[in-house]
């Protein structure tokens, strides 16, 4: 009798083992989500090559990591209230994570804290927001980018020169940081004087006007730095129009086709490009990591590159400058 019981037990155990072994699935990849999650990406503006590239990168990552990506942005970069509303909307829709590129460092802070309160992780991308609840920042080191621009400009204009700065939105963290980096670098050269700092509100027309104004008020300016895409186009084209090309050295940011043309024409001497594709891609990837409970670094610097005529045709830079195949 006892032996029969023992035999039965052995049989049962073998059966169980077979069942268990045959049902043990493959080890899941830690980064790929088993079930798709909703990630909302809220950026500053719904147009422009820069944001389109960000979106492209984000979509590549979304596909790779099984994420339902919602891409949202106000029509205008200065429409901060609309951006706050969009973040609120994502909180209400119970997004699993929010990626935010804050148009205003301070004003977006409250809504970011609210998202964190509802246990929605927030990843800051491209420009930061004044909230300690943000999990991580993915973007260009803007201070460093500003310094790069300053270094090249001073190389071009020499240690004794007067320089103008065309910034975009006062209060946006990346604008402030670029300016700060630029100013800090310039401060090393006592002969270099920043005579004018203007804010064009990311509007091309305003940038043109401000450039004209700047040049008329300070005709001795030999170098201008334009700190974002729109400012770059406005400034560069206005300088070209004024016939001041090559006399006034220009360092720009980002790489719209118009800026590239100005670069080839010799109006713009160099441009600092970020890597928006990588910004978008990495922001989504790190959002996935955060949702999966994996530790992430506080910051991830997607490098900025200084592009001039010498290196613009290198394959990796071509892709950086022209992310879209048209």
């Amino acid at each position: 009798m006892t032996r029969t019981v023992a035999g039965l037990r052995v049989c049962l155990m073998i059966m169980l083992m077979i069942v268990l072994v045959s049902c043990g699935g493959a080890e899941p990849n830690l980064h790929v989500l088993e079930k798709p999650k909703n990630v909302d990406m809220i950026v500053k503006m719904d147009h422009g090559d820069f944001w389109k590239t960000v979106k492209m990168g984000a979509e590549v990552a979304a596909k790779e990591y099984n994420v339902n990506l919602t891409f949202k942005a106000p029509q205008n970069e200065s429409d901060i209230d609309e951006q706050i509303r969009l973040v609120d909307e994502s909180i209400r829709n119970n997004a699993d994570a929010i990626i935010l590129s804050a148009s205003d460092y301070m004003k977006l802070a409250q809504v970011t804290d609210r998202a964190a309160y509802y246990k929605i992780p927030v990843i800051s991308m491209d420009s930061e927001v004044a909230s300690a609840r943000v999990k991580m920042f993915v973007g260009t080191n803007n201070y460093e980018a500003g310094q790069k621009a300053a270094k090249r400009l001073i190389e071009l204009t020499g240690p004794d020169s007067r320089i103008g700065v065309m910034n975009f939105v006062k209060g946006a963290k990346n604008a402030d940081e670029r300016e700060e980096g630029f100013m800090d670098y310039v401060a090393r050269f006592p002969g270099v004087q920043v005579v004018d700092i203007e804010y064009c509100e990311s509007d091309e027309q305003i940038a043109r006007q401000l450039t004209r104004k700047m040049m008329s008020e300070h005709p001795d300016i030999t170098g201008i730095v334009a700190l974002n895409e729109v400012a770059s186009i406005g400034t560069g084209e206005e300088i070209q129009k004024l016939g001041l090309g090559e006399k006034v050295k220009i360092i720009t940011f980002d790489s719209p086709a118009k800026v590239m043309e100005l670069l080839q024409e010799g109006i713009v001497q160099a441009t600092v490009v970020q890597n928006p594709f990588n910004n978008g891609y990495l922001a989504v990837r790190y959002a996935v990591q955060v949702m999966e409970g994996i530790e992430v670094d506080e910051r991830w610097d997607t490098k900025s590159t200084l592009i001039d005529l010498d290196n613009m045709l290198q394959p990796q830079n071509q892709k950086l400058l022209f992310p879209f195949v048209k």
Binding site: A26, A257, L313, K319, L320, V325
Partner: protein
């Protein structure tokens, strides 16, 4: 099997009892379940392996076909570009003067018909523009001498070279991603034949879109590299350039055609490589087996639940079947048990399996047979006793014969001829009726006749010491009675009542039907008997000494034949006389009498 009687153990609850380890139910349930589950598992494993293998093969085949398809389209596209290049070259060759407006018009038309065609340009080997279609101003700082199409046209003048996709920065207007086709050609410029580099730029968009649309599972993708390993198209080109992504491109350079599993980051990837023939580009498909072979997971889950359901079903079924089999057996066992305890009368009715029904039928038959045999034994026992009695009653009493013959001798000595005749005649009749052809049952008339002859003989012998009278209702005469029941009683009356009397005795025999009974009374006026003597008579303690068939015998015979309701009754008073009443059922003469089966 548990058919043997239960051991002395406390009664378990029914359910547990029915699951004793060695019971049929348990054995069937377990073996049935075990076998089925093992078979199902074995089959499942086999099917699983087969299915996953087939699914994997199919998935891989599918991927290969997709890549093949893309490759085919690419080759077709490249071929188309080559054709265009040939056409452009032909037209330039056919034109006597390169600056002729006819050539320009022809090429412009060609450019318009082919959407993909971005621009055509002819450059001197030094890089000076000869002609460009559409006619656009050259940009400054083009650095065309450093561009790959220019360099390869110089390096391999005869071979049409395809550049990797790049930004076209030569002419003012848009910056477009193009693939440049270039070669050294000859053209005529105002009669002189010159050498130049013909550049045809084709929009990269078609290739880009074609590659972008390739979807290998959810995460899989395809990329294209040129023969040196430079990326032509990659969905994550920027990440690779930035060093954030590693795609193990070097490994693919070893293959021109084939498939393999690659694990650059640990996760297995299924790589498929095809070469785009004329330009030696490689199209590489990357798929994730874990993902494409989704069947594996589904199948896993399906098999798991299948097993669970099958096991449950089999257990239930096995329990049901085993119960179906063992329950009748159990019932049979209970019935047999009750038989064992001595109850032969209730037949067993067990329904169920054929065998069990048969078994119960056979058992019933056996029971029936046992009952029959037991009846027969009782029967035979009774018959045996009866036969003994019959033997007794048919005995001829030698003492009676001796006495009678003695008295005949005495009569003869005295010369009483008539009396001798009467005695001998009565004796002979007496014996005739005694024998009565071996029958046990005779009519009352015969019985009375018999006793009358006896009385005649005795009367002569006792020298008319007594008188007698026989009375009988006419109706009662034909009633059937056991033979030799009256003679012992009369004998008794003579011996105990009359013989010792000083006066003349009188014996009266009367028969009548009273209350559905045949009542025969034998009364004498003799000495009478004490109660004690009467009891001794009935218990056989006293033999009447005459015929040898005692009163007790008479009583027993009547009871045996007719039942306990019938028999003898004594009424006696000392000095007054005795009356013996015989009670019998009224049975009319219908000739036949029961045959007891004695030989």
């Amino acid at each position: 099997m548990n058919i043997e009687p239960k051991r002395n153990m406390p009664k378990l609850p029914r359910v547990i009892e029915s699951f004793k380890l060695r019971s049929i139910q348990t054995i069937i349930t377990f073996s049935f379940t075990l076998m089925t589950v093992l078979v199902v598992i074995a089959v499942s494993i086999m099917l699983y392996n087969k299915f996953t293998k087939t699914a994997e093969e199919n998935a891989y085949l599918n991927i290969q076909q997709i890549i093949e398809q893309v490759n085919y389209h690419l080759e077709l596209y490249v071929k188309g570009m080559q054709d265009i290049y040939e056409v452009v070259e032909q037209q330039i060759n056919d034109t006597p003067d390169i600056s002729s407006p006819v050539l320009r018009e022809q090429l412009t038309t060609l450019l318009h018909t082919r959407e993909d065609l971005v621009s055509v340009g002819l450059f001197t080997p030094e890089g000076k523009l000869v002609v460009d279609i559409p006619a656009l101003e050259m940009r400054k700082n083009t650095m065309l001498e450093e561009q790959s199409w220019f360099e390869s046209a110089h390096a391999r003048p005869q071979k049409l070279s395809f550049s990797p996709p790049h930004i076209q920065n030569l002419y003012k207007g848009q910056y477009k991603w193009v693939v440049s086709l270039s070669r050294m050609i000859k053209y005529k410029d105002q009669g002189t034949i010159k050498e130049g580099i013909l550049l045809v730029d084709v929009n990269f968009r078609t290739i880009d879109e074609l590659s972008r649309k390739v979807s290998l599972g959810k995460r899989g993708y395809a990329y294209i590299i040129d023969d040196l390993g430079n990326i032509v198209y990659h969905p994550q080109q920027q990440l690779i350039y930035a060093g954030l992504k590693y795609d193990n491109i070097e490994a693919t350079l070893e293959y021109a055609y084939g498939s393999y599993i690659d694990k650059p980051t640990g996760e297995p990837r299924y790589i498929t490589i095809r070469t785009v023939e004329p330009i030696n580009w490689k199209i590489v498909g990357v798929a994730y087996p874990d993902e494409i072979v989704t069947t594996k997971k589904d199948l896993n889950q399906f098999i798991f639940w299948f097993l669970v359901v099958v096991c449950a079903a089999v257990v239930v079924l096995a329990m049901f079947v085993s119960a179906k089999i063992s329950q009748p057996l159990r019932r049979l066992e209970k019935s047999v048990q009750s038989v064992g305890q001595g109850d032969f009368s209730t037949p067993i009715h067990v329904s169920g399996a054929h065998e069990v029904v048969q078994l119960s039928k056979r058992f019933n038959f056996m029971l029936h047979r046992i009952r029959q045999l037991m009846d027969q034994i009782i029967h035979e026992q009774e018959a045996k006793r009866k036969s003994e009695l019959d033997v007794l009653q048919s005995q001829i009493n030698p003492h009676f014969l001796y006495n009678t013959l003695n008295s005949v001798v005495r009569l003869a000595e005295k010369g009483k001829k008539e009396e001798i005749v009467a005695t001998i005649t009565s004796l002979s009749k007496f014996f005739r009726i005694s024998l009565s052809k071996g029958k046990n049952i005779i009519t009352l008339e015969e019985e009375l006749e018999h006793v009358r002859h006896y009385l005649i003989i005795q009367k002569i012998r006792f020298k008319n010491k007594f008188n007698y009278a026989i009375e009988c209702e006419q109706e009662a005469l034909s009633c059937m009675t056991l033979k030799l029941i009256l003679q012992p009683i009369v004998e008794n009356a003579i011996h105990h009542g009359i013989e010792k009397m000083s006066d003349e005795g009188f014996i009266r025999i009367a028969a009548c039907i009273k209350e559905e009974r045949l009542v025969i009374q034998v009364s004498d006026n003799g000495l009478g008997m004490s109660r004690q003597v009467m009891e001794q008579l009935l218990s056989g303690g006293i033999r009447s000494g005459g015929s040898g068939v005692g009163v007790k015998n008479v009583n027993e015979r009547i009871r045996l034949y007719y039942g306990k309701a019938y028999g003898l009754r004594f009424e006696s008073e000392l000095e007054e006389g005795t009356t013996v009443t015989i009670m019998l059922p009224v049975e009319k003469n219908d000739d036949e009498q029961p045959d007891w089966g004695m030989s």
